[in-house]
Symmetry: C4
Subunit: 124 residues, 4 copies
């Protein structure tokens, strides 16, 4: 399939809820960048995390194979450093081939979950 998307994406909203009521991985509070690489070449991706009052963190490097999707949880990023929960952040996601990025949060701080999602801001 022809590649679809852009090479640079920004998500201005980021926040990992510090608590959860869910115990399964599915229902633990999390924040995700869903990345689709519909094209025929693998995507090498670099993520930079921005904060309110300190220097950016990263780059975090992930790969998305050709014709695959990766629903990346920011909670799972470890190298070079974890993102602290309960802290406002933002992210820029850069790829060497066109991809599509969508932002989703599941918040289970309270007994019932809340969801948000939006397409990220994409450019070349």
């Amino acid at each position: 399939m022809d590649a679809i998307g852009k090479r640079r994406w920004a998500i201005a909203e980021g926040y990992i809820p510090p608590q959860s009521t869910g115990t399964s991985r599915e229902l633990v509070s999390h924040e995700a960048a869903c990345i689709l690489n519909a094209g025929d070449d693998p995507a090498q991706i670099a993520i930079t995390i921005f904060f309110k009052d300190r220097s950016p963190a990263g780059p975090y490097r992930v790969a998305v194979p050709a014709r695959r999707t990766l629903h990346l949880r920011f909670n799972d990023l470890r190298d070079p450093e974890p993102i602290p929960p309960g802290t406002d952040y933002a992210s820029v996601i850069e790829s060497d081939v066109p991809v599509v990025v969508q932002h989703t949060r599941l918040d289970s701080r309270q007994a019932e979950l809340a969801l948000l999602s939006t397409i990220a801001y994409g450019t070349d």
Copy 2:
């Protein structure tokens, strides 16, 4: 009415919740691609589903008549294969005429429902 929209759309986020608390069709957990064909020609649509660790599924074929909207539930796709619940996926929606695609999920795994929606990523 003049056609409005794009011919290729991508939804990078996809997840059919594996359980529901709702019993009516309206309140069963579902994931939908809402497709609007505002123009005067019928739309022939092909949907391809992407996964994390297997080859894409599809194409799934649907038609949207001229001046009509279709709120397509991914849960309902059967041919060539159903989409497994509880699995991360993404989708590309291709049309022979311009359409507009919006992504919505109703999650009723817990007693109270949660909603998300976003415009998809569109291009020509």
Copy 3:
């Protein structure tokens, strides 16, 4: 202020929940098109509603004065006909000057509310 936005907008998702648990106007289930006219000229707006299996309804006509916003509830549309609750629909919003349109739903069918929102699809 210089006008900002586009003249044609589409919202592919539309659904007025048939029940509410809220009793105040704020907490009654509703679906809204939030329209911003930031420019110095009044906006004359025509809304067309699309369905799955019948001809479109409308146009519904509203005006948004210069430098004002209108959070229009689809529930409130009456002329030429009300939109039936519990029915899938979509909408096209056409303006004679640039405006910005955002789609929001508050669903209070169950005891706790759910929210969704997305920027609409805009073009000229």
Copy 4:
């Protein structure tokens, strides 16, 4: 990092819920514009608030340093005037350098929270 984004953004939806059930700052009902300035120059930002039936308020002025993000709560704006809760509004956010703006609301009027988020409408 190269700057990313646009210089003018609009959020057509705005509403500060008049009540909260949360007592912590995190869980108080709030409405935010998340602004990312990924570039190497500081951003000077002017926000104008539009209403249904009165003249716009503002400009409210904030700065976002280079390579930083600001998750600005509309509830916190005070100069030249606070935004009244329980009132429909919209906003235009203008920056002297490219930024990315995303809109988020946490609604905790009822016991369980609801979330919405969308990328704003951006232009130059």
